[in-house]
């Protein structure tokens, strides 16, 4: 088995940057030039939303994979994936505000309060922002044990994000069910952590 070295980590990070950014840039280019289907606004909203969910799922795969294959260095790629998750989510909500609601802030506020699927999506986003802000190593060290507690909220963010996605659909098809299954599986892998968390809360 190949050991993942810091050099490999650098390479993996480059690939993450390249893929995450190029997808985004290409899609925005298509959307701005009206080449993203009949409704580029809806298309770019869906692309960034699904992109964020995909990235979150990949992020949550890192630690189980690293553990199973004893690749401690792999963990060093997780933060970057997490940050791109939050960045895609930021694009998602910005797209909604800028291009769909077209800066109708009042409407956004109303949606967040009145429409449950948007409320849960927004909460999911707030968690991702909090995790991103506290992601630098210096802050992590300063926060000590609170940091891990805060960052366990990523599981809640996943639950809220998937709920937001499923709730936004008119009917259920195969694809959302696959996402639901994948999420359940990734949460199942953390069942000890989650029960521990629950016990501490109650």
């Amino acid at each position: 088995m190949v050991r993942i070295t810091p050099k490999h980590v650098l390479l993996i990070k480059c690939v993450i940057h390249l893929v995450a950014l190029s997808y985004l840039i290409v899609h925005y280019y298509w959307a701005f030039t009206d080449n993203l289907g009949a409704d580029p606004v809806k298309a770019i909203i869906h692309f960034t939303g699904m992109g964020s969910i995909n990235l979150l799922l990949i992020t949550l795969c890192v630690s189980p994979v690293a553990k199973k294959y004893r690749q401690a260095n792999l963990m060093k790629t997780r933060r970057l994936l997490g940050l791109y998750t939050a960045f895609y989510a930021l694009c998602h909500i910005s797209n909604y505000l800028f291009f769909d609601l077209q800066f109708d802030w009042g409407n956004l506020l109303q949606d967040i309060i009145k429409r449950p699927y948007i409320t849960v999506g927004f909460l999911s986003f707030v968690i991702l922002v909090a995790l991103s802000i506290t992601s630098p190593s210096a802050i992590q060290r300063a926060m000590k044990r609170t940091w891990q507690k805060l960052h366990n909220y990523v599981y809640l963010s996943l639950v809220l994000g998937i709920t937001h996605y499923l709730w936004s659909l008119k009917t259920l098809t195969t694809e959302p069910l696959i996402y639901l299954l994948m999420s359940c599986f990734l949460l199942y892998l953390r069942k000890d952590k989650i029960t521990l968390f629950k016990r501490r809360v109650t």
Partner: protein, 334 residues
Amino acid sequence: MFKEQSIGKVLTENDVTDENIFLNRRKMLKRMGFVGAGSLLATSQNANAISLFGKKKESFVTAPVAHTKNTEYQITETLTPESKVTTYNNFYEFGTSKSDPAENAQSLTVNPWEVKITGAVEKSFTLSYDDLYNMFDIEERIYRFRCVEAWSMVIPWLGFPLYKLIKKAKPLSKAKYVAFKTLYRPSEMPGQKSRFVGGGIDYPYVEGLRMDEAMHPLTLMSVGVYGKTLPPQNGAPIRLVVPWKYGFKSIKSVVEINFTEKEPPTTWNILAPQEYGFYANVNPAVSHPRWSQASERRITSGGLLTRNRIDTLPFNGYSEVASLYDGMNLRKYY
């Protein structure tokens, strides 16, 4: 490309992006080896980039339809380009994504076709494929089309008003409603074959109107769009168009028109009665439980920066139908 588009001027085929390119793009993406990243690419619908690799696949052939322009129904709003009208469709029989129908409906057989006119009428009869275009004068009407999902288009339909057909059938006095049914043909409609493809709807799709709604001169049986016969994704060969109601009322690929005494069941109402009512009149004052209906985005041309959000009007701007609902609580009968 469509900026100069004005009302009444029908686009020529040179004006639009080749449909085949649109229809082919997902297949091309797969061929290019993006399958693994499929979910990231799920919404990518780039026509130009893919056309470099595009190989034409057989698409449905539409034909020009002889028609006259009905001057009463020519509005001055910018038309939605034909390429968008024919690639952005809700037709769950062919899949739930907006681009699915244009991709999966191309091999639908529309000729021969039969529309049975039946139920509480003096004269039951059946329309053949040729009858659709010849029994009544075909006129062009430009209508606003408002989807319940809060987007809208402006579409030049070809067709004949439903009342002409109803008069021919001579409904009995006990006929109070008109029920419509879409084709049921799982062999050509993947959504009917698999519940997962078709969004869990019990097919065939059914819709209905009250008799006075059906008789209203605005209510159109459409057999074409943009000067040509309907492509399958738009409901070939014949569909209903009720411009003051949300789009799901405008049932596609109709095979049966049945006159009934009681309010007929309607598909979306069966699926989610708290979200979709029988009447489904466009109404900015009554929100969908999950989103506002106060405004809509008009799909024309232009990219992300097009300011296309407009206020939604009661009855989609067709105030002449308001009297049909005098004294009715439209909040209750949504």
